[in-house]
């Protein structure tokens, strides 16, 4: 093998200066190392045989990967690692061959749309799919050229099956509501169009990063959207890379009972109809007092913000609802609480006054609702350990269990 040939081969495998490679290779040869061995030693030295990989070729278990890609999405979040809070960055990146989720364990200053060369990252398996991990030692360089992203047929999904961090999806739906907003992206003002859309299976929030001239009531098909989590719930995002067309279809969401595992696994949602048994009435249910100025809940007549105040009474229930497949907290406001308990707040205030104990209200809620099946309609809000649903409607239910049992019996051929 000729000297020049070896140098070319090394340079095609690693990222290094020609001058340096020539100098090093000469050094090896001067020591009497055969050229083939010297070549391999240098390839290892400058990146362990790492060759730039296309995204589709990255497999779980790959180490020391070099790749070039465009950042499609990036989210910052805090995680707890051995008792310490640290920031990590998660998102999607892609090239002309594929798209892959990534986690960056330090701030590389990455932004949506950046094209970067990444050296020394590794790939692990997460839920059966490869995921890139950018560690402290990974080198990330922004580059000037652009990358044409892959055009794979998008995955067609119903809105109920949309999950955070999936990309290249195709959805159809009707624009339920839309509004124009100005947002700040890395110091730059951008106009986005966000709102709610629906199909037959769910309602979901969306954000369009481009003016597709959408208006309320439009039925559309979006190809090449992606999904990310917004306040714990999935949100559809689409930008100039997506294809949006208006369609002539009548689309309407009619709420139907959704098993709670779907609500929990997708991270909540809007206008959900659920059924389950109340397995716990949280201790902060019953008569509570709110600050007359800020409406916050006060304790022993003191508002955190406004000090000693004359509390305004309110009635509410926070209860754990579980259907055997998942569990959520449900919050019933005064109006719904009065409906469920068939008693007004004034009645309860009087009851508590007579007994000189607000605990009597809690006891009555437990008596009437604990272990009772209920049906609830509402929107989820983000919370840490459980999904909470703010009820917009709710009722106690008594399904026809004999009929259910007979139907199930037929299903199993009994």
């Amino acid at each position: 093998m000729e000297f020049e040939e070896a140098v070319e081969e090394i340079l095609s495998s690693v990222d290094a200066e020609r001058e340096e490679i020539e100098k090093k290779l000469k050094e090896f040869l001067d020591y009497g190392v055969p050229i083939e061995q010297a070549k391999n030693a240098l390839i290892r030295k400058y990146g362990g045989g790492a060759r730039e990989k296309k995204i589709k070729d990255i497999k779980p278990g790959d180490r020391n990967v070099i790749t070039s890609a465009k950042i499609l999405t990036i989210d910052e979040r805090e995680v707890e690692v051995r008792g310490k809070t640290r920031k990590i960055y998660r998102g999607l990146l892609g090239d002309e061959t594929g798209i892959i989720p990534f986690t960056a364990w330090k701030d590389f200053g990455l932004q949506k749309g950046d094209v970067v060369k990444i050296k020394g990252c590794s790939a692990s398996e997460w839920q059966g799919q490869p995921r890139l991990s950018l560690s402290e030692w990974t080198i990330v360089e922004k580059v000037e050229y652009d990358i044409e992203l892959i055009k794979m047929p998008p995955k067609r999904l119903n809105l109920i099956d949309v999950r955070a961090n999936i990309s290249n999806v195709e959805v159809r739906g009707k624009i339920t509501s839309i509004e124009r907003r100005e947002v700040d992206v890395g110091g730059e003002k951008k106009t986005v169009y966000s709102g709610i859309m629906e199909d037959e299976t769910a309602r979901i929030r969306f954000t369009a990063w481009k003016d597709f001239e959408l208006k309320e009531g439009d039925a559309i098909r979006i190809k090449g959207a992606y999904v990310r989590s917004w306040r714990g719930s999935p949100q559809i995002i689409f930008d100039e890379n997506a294809e949006v067309e208006k369609i002539d279809e009548k689309i309407e969401y009619t709420p139907y009972t959704i098993p709670l595992y779907k609500v929990v696994e997708r991270g909540g949602g809007l206008d959900l109809l659920i059924e389950g048994v109340i397995l716990e009435v949280r201790r902060d249910s019953g008569i509570i007092f709110r600050c007359p100025h800020c409406n916050r809940r006060i304790k022993e007549g003191v508002c955190d913000e406004h000090g000693q105040v004359d509390g305004v009474p309110d009635l509410r229930i926070r209860a754990l609802v579980d259907d055997g497949t998942g569990a959520v907290d449900v919050i019933f406001n005064r109006e719904l609480t009065e409906k469920l308990l068939e008693k007004s707040m004034d009645d309860y205030l009087k009851m508590a006054e007579d007994a000189m104990d607000y605990g009597i209200v809690y006891a009555d809620i437990v008596d009437k609702l604990l272990m009772h099946p209920v049906r609830v309609y509402g929107d989820s809000i983000q919370s840490d350990f459980i999904i909470s649903i703010i009820a917009k409607d709710g009722e106690k239910i008594k399904p026809d269990v004999k009929k259910d049992a007979e139907e199930l019996m037929i299903e199993i051929g009994g």
Binding site: D322, I386, P399, K402, A405
Partner: protein, 274 residues
């Protein structure tokens, strides 16, 4: 995330012997049942057959709750005196609902005793018991279906099961059960499912007040006479007659107690409490 409360028949829960311990210190423990439930919390509704004080200080209680397939052992622990006192005041037999956590006792490698630690307890009605049976049956059916699907796959995976629409916990539990339990007898659980459901679909005729009152007395008689082997049927009827209960009433009361799963026949002509 908050763990779901599984509705699971005693006939399946008591057959479980596989426990998964999480890697982290505070990670939840799960009981993997033969049909792939991955249980950390439970919700059980059934007939309370007896409550007994087992604590030295009178603060730990054990209750037995019968469902159509077997008995759930439920404990109220001293650190939850409210639940303990609720349980202690309940009458047996009566319908009761309990929500709580798995209670695992592993005295040595390879032997596992499973029960339940109560967190919420309430007296309920027959409707909730039937509602519970339907929910437990549906859940079991879903897992039976998932296991059959998994068995038909060349390399079963959580992803494939989820793509078929099964919940993550079910997919995880079913695969774990297939790894651990050898030769799972799916037919046995299909039989159990049918048994439990037939419990509801049979239209029960309303018993007279007289029969209902007799049930309590007969239960006391059986308890007194049963010993190890069970009480002789004839001796029970005889004793009932002495207390002024007619034979036909006594027989109907015994039939009701059996139907409710409070007593059974260990052998023909003998009666015993479950």
């Amino acid at each position: 995330m908050r763990e779901v409360a599984w509705r699971i028949f005693a006939g399946e829960y008591s057959e479980a012997s596989h426990i998964i311990h999480g890697k982290e210190e505070k990670a939840p423990k799960y009981v993997i049942t033969p049909m792939g439930a991955k249980v950390n919390r439970l919700f059980v509704v059934g007939v309370l057959t007896d409550v007994e004080n087992i604590g030295k200080e009178g603060i730990r209680w054990r209750a037995r709750i019968a469902d159509p397939t077997g008995i759930h052992n439920v404990y109220a622990e001293p650190f939850n005196p409210e639940v303990a006192s609720l349980l202690a005041d309940m009458e047996a037999p009566s319908y009761v609902a309990v929500a709580g956590k798995v209670r695992i006792y592993e005295p040595e490698e390879g032997s596992v005793y499973l029960s339940m630690r109560a967190e919420e307890v309430k007296s309920v009605d027959a409707f909730l018991r039937d509602y519970w049976i339907v929910q437990a049956a549906r859940n079991l059916k879903m897992r039976i279906d998932a296991m059959k699907e998994a068995k038909s796959m060349s390399t079963p995976s959580i992803r494939q099961l989820r793509e078929l629409g099964y919940p993550l916990k079910v997919a995880e539990g079913v695969l774990e059960a297939m790894r651990y339990y050898k030769d799972i007898d799916i037919e046995h659980y299909e039989f159990l499912l049918r048994e439990a459901l037939s419990y509801i679909s049979i239209e029960k005729k309303e018993s007279s007040k007289e029969v209902k009152e007799a049930e309590e007395k007969l239960l006391a008689i059986i308890k007194e006479l049963q010993g190890e082997e069970g009480a002789e049927w004839d001796a029970v009827i005889e004793q009932a007659a002495k207390q002024g209960i007619e034979r036909s009433i006594a027989e109907e009361a015994i039939a009701n107690l059996m139907e409710d799963g409070i007593i059974y026949e260990p052998e023909l002509g003998k009666l015993k409490m479950v």
